[in-house]
């Protein structure tokens, strides 16, 4: 068992070494926090939920069977905690409107985006991502950033795989549309 494997530290915690859990906290804190922030929007609340996620994971570590990746299991705790929090606040996710960019336009938009300055790319991408519905932001982050498979995302969110596929596809197109709008505004402002 490699020292970089999650299971090595999980076993260490199970054997009584509480401090070994800090490795898992260090490794996953950014993604757990990012997911919580995308759903809850407020940094203080996201941090609190992220902390609670790790405490819950520690308490439930005995029930983790290793059938799924530790990250998948951890993100599902995060997602469920955020959903319960949102339900308490009776907030519903926004939905994407049906207008969609064609694949050709998407390709053009991507090429145009690549030509913009590096620092602008990140700024616009963050803005576009933030304008997606909360659950779509989570799906995009898990799929494209964290490389979780559709099945794993299904385990985390409880959505079925075909629904996830559709949502990710629409979210990607929507992001290009948003980027297009933003970059168009930028060009106008320069003129």
């Amino acid at each position: 068992m490699n020292k970089t494997d999650d299971i090595y530290y999980i076993e260490a915690v199970r054997n009584g070494n509480v401090q070994a859990f800090s490795f898992l906290v260090e490794k996953y804190q950014k993604l757990v926090y990012t997911l919580a922030l995308k759903l809850l929007k407020k940094p203080e609340e996201a941090e609190e939920i992220a902390q609670d996620t790790f405490i819950k994971a520690f308490q439930k570590l005995g029930s983790y069977e290793g059938k799924s990746k530790f990250s998948t299991w951890l993100y599902s705790i995060t997602y469920n905690a955020c959903i319960s929090e949102l339900r308490k606040r009776r907030i519903e996710f926004k939905s994407l409107d049906d207008r969609q960019m064609s694949d050709q336009d998407e390709q053009k938009m991507h090429d145009y985006y690549r030509e913009t300055r590096k620092e602008d790319q990140e700024k616009y991408l963050n803005l576009a991502l933030a304008r997606l519905p909360e659950d779509d932001q989570v799906l995009v982050t898990l799929y494209y950033y964290e490389n979780q498979s559709m099945d794993e995302i299904s385990q985390i969110t409880g959505l079925n795989v075909s629904n996830i596929k559709v949502k990710i596809h629409r979210a990607r197109k929507k992001m290009y549309e948003l980027l297009h709008e933003m970059l168009k505004e930028e060009v106008y402002s320069l003129l």
């Binding site: 009584g16 804190q29 790790f54 950033y145």
Partner: protein, 150 residues
């Protein structure tokens, strides 16, 4: 993943993800240490079962042997009818009009009347001790799952 997906993945990976506060790990770990301390039960940490498994086996075997001995020896002896709890119970049953039912019950109870009362006391005490022992052992296993700062 198709070409558009891959391009999009590259774009997304170029973005820095959010970070919690710098003392996040410290705060989580202090909460976890507190959690572990609550789960830990120091009083029961070094608890050892009062009676070992081996002793329990010996006691059970001895009790079974005692039962067999009493059963076999009572088959030739006259049933004790004047002493013990079961004698009283079977005597009361005898008062019923239904002779057949009471005789069947008497035969069944006769076995128990031949067991001295002290044997029942020992059995009850042993069961009580076993229950207490099991409960305390469970607490000990639960508390020893987590050790702090090791």
């Amino acid at each position: 993943m198709n070409k558009l997906d891959k391009q999009f993945e590259q774009m997304i990976k170029g973005v820095q993800i959010d970070s919690p506060s710098s003392d996040f790990t410290l705060r989580v770990m202090s909460r976890i240490q507190a959690e572990a301390a609550v789960q830990r039960k120091p009083i029961l940490q070094n608890y050892q079962p009062v009676i070992s498994k081996r002793t329990w086996i010996i006691l059970i075997v001895a009790f079974i042997l005692l039962l067999i001995y009493i059963t076999v020896s009572s088959q030739n002896a006259t049933p004790a009818s004047d002493t013990g709890f079961w004698s009283t119970v079977s005597g009361k049953i005898g008062g019923f009009n239904n002779q057949e039912a009471s005789s069947i019950l008497k035969t069944g109870m006769g076995l128990f009347t031949s067991i001295p009362s002290i044997a029942y006391l020992i059995l009850t005490a042993s069961l009580a001790l076993w229950t207490l022992d099991s409960v305390l052992s469970r607490f000990r296993h639960h508390s020893s799952e987590i050790q702090i700062g090791s």
